[in-house]
Subunit: 203 residues, 3 copies
Amino acid sequence: MIDFITLCDYFGTFAFAISGIRLASAKQFDWFGAYVVGVVTAVGGGTVRDILLNDIPFWMTQPSYLIVSGLALLFVIIFRKYVIKLNNTFFIFDAIGLGLFVIVGIVKTLEFGFPMWVAIVMGTITGSFGGMIRDILINEVPLVLRKDIYALACVFGGIAYWCCIQFDLPSALSQFISATIVFSIRILAIKYHISLPVLRGEE
Amino acid sequence: MIDFITLCDYFGTFAFAISGIRLASAKQFDWFGAYVVGVVTAVGGGTVRDILLNDIPFWMTQPSYLIVSGLALLFVIIFRKYVIKLNNTFFIFDAIGLGLFVIVGIVKTLEFGFPMWVAIVMGTITGSFGGMIRDILINEVPLVLRKDIYALACVFGGIAYWCCIQFDLPSALSQFISATIVFSIRILAIKYHISLPVLRGEE
Amino acid sequence: MIDFITLCDYFGTFAFAISGIRLASAKQFDWFGAYVVGVVTAVGGGTVRDILLNDIPFWMTQPSYLIVSGLALLFVIIFRKYVIKLNNTFFIFDAIGLGLFVIVGIVKTLEFGFPMWVAIVMGTITGSFGGMIRDILINEVPLVLRKDIYALACVFGGIAYWCCIQFDLPSALSQFISATIVFSIRILAIKYHISLPVLRGEE
């Protein structure tokens, strides 16, 4: 089970880093700049969570996240022409990573003794703030705040986890169910173009 | 007295959140994205302060700030057409909130054992960094750095607090005086179009 | 030796603050806004480092960094017309500051008990995140991520430090060598227009 989760973690990190690196390449970043954007996209959400929880950021205890992001950079440099064709694959990885990141954020926050509503907020931050910081770095309005059900999918995953806990489901099952719900909402929202209403400005 | 302060805190949070939500609506954010911008505007300054003080962010200990921000979103959605007419009311709320936020930042920093100059910086950060992060999220140059006496009003409030302490005024009175000074400077600066000189670039 | 390092620290802070204030002036910031950008440029990298290390930010223990940044603002206001002519001087100061900041970041991180690779990352963050936050505040794509060897010079300085340690060189010498390497790479990269390849986007 641990191996499977670690694998999901790496695939998610890889997909998040790829999304940062690709957007950086559209803005003429140099290789190292693109790598920085990739790393920040991959670890940014969890880093903000750990800072808020007053803990040492998770990626400082083992180098694998920086290495996986480096592999993502190599991948984009070498397979540049084929990256577009893999869009759907990356999207699946990204959705898997999102589901996992949300759960990791929730479980860690509960372990720190915070109530469930803080855990749901932290799960959402873990999943969505990396993409937000990415868009700030490339000087765009954050996509996750403008369309698609992204941050909201994280919130629903958190509420699902809370429901599972209410029904006394075992911890591993609760985590699997909520991650699947985050994953499914992302897939369905993209496939059927479901989105929240845009907030209309004043006339 | 506590009730009055709590009330000011909620009105200030509400007004700060409204300002974030309205600016997000001008950039076509969806409902949840606008909510995130509203929350960040309301709690961002205090969160940066608490991170710098190495403390758990204040909004993680009670859900009222997220709830008040949610009410602000509902308010903007439902009363969209009338929000503009309430501009002056929101401005008053915002100035009250600013005064209170500055004092909360100063008092907390002094309680943590830092010297007065750090407390003044933290009061200014508490009052003005929420608006700065808001403008970064909507991809604009931060307004508080460009015009109006905003961050500087916070600094003056801090200096006023220091003067009160020098004269051995009781703590509650000192807080009231400094909050009133922040509030008054904001009101006067807007009413009489007082602003700092713009820093001219090189020719 | 301590005096020399403190001097380098102040000159570096001054040069970093100048770069923030000048870019803010090009965007019509008012005096106080320009000062905030200057301070953030000068202390931003070290502040992010200290937050990640879960420590109180260094500038909160003594006011000299805020004072030096204030002198930088005065300097730009008074000598506006001559600032351009001093471009080369500022560049040298900036490169000296960068070398020193990287070393300070590395040494502090090692003192906190982290492994060398974390120290190299923290040295790079100390040197380059101030400029990154500066560019976010003035709403530009961060320059340090797009061209010139900047963040990468910090990484090389960190690797040099690691090599020195491997050869059991005394601590002060290792620090001097690595700072010189950061400094030299910056000077050479600008003088000979050396830069990393830009990451090309998809066709």
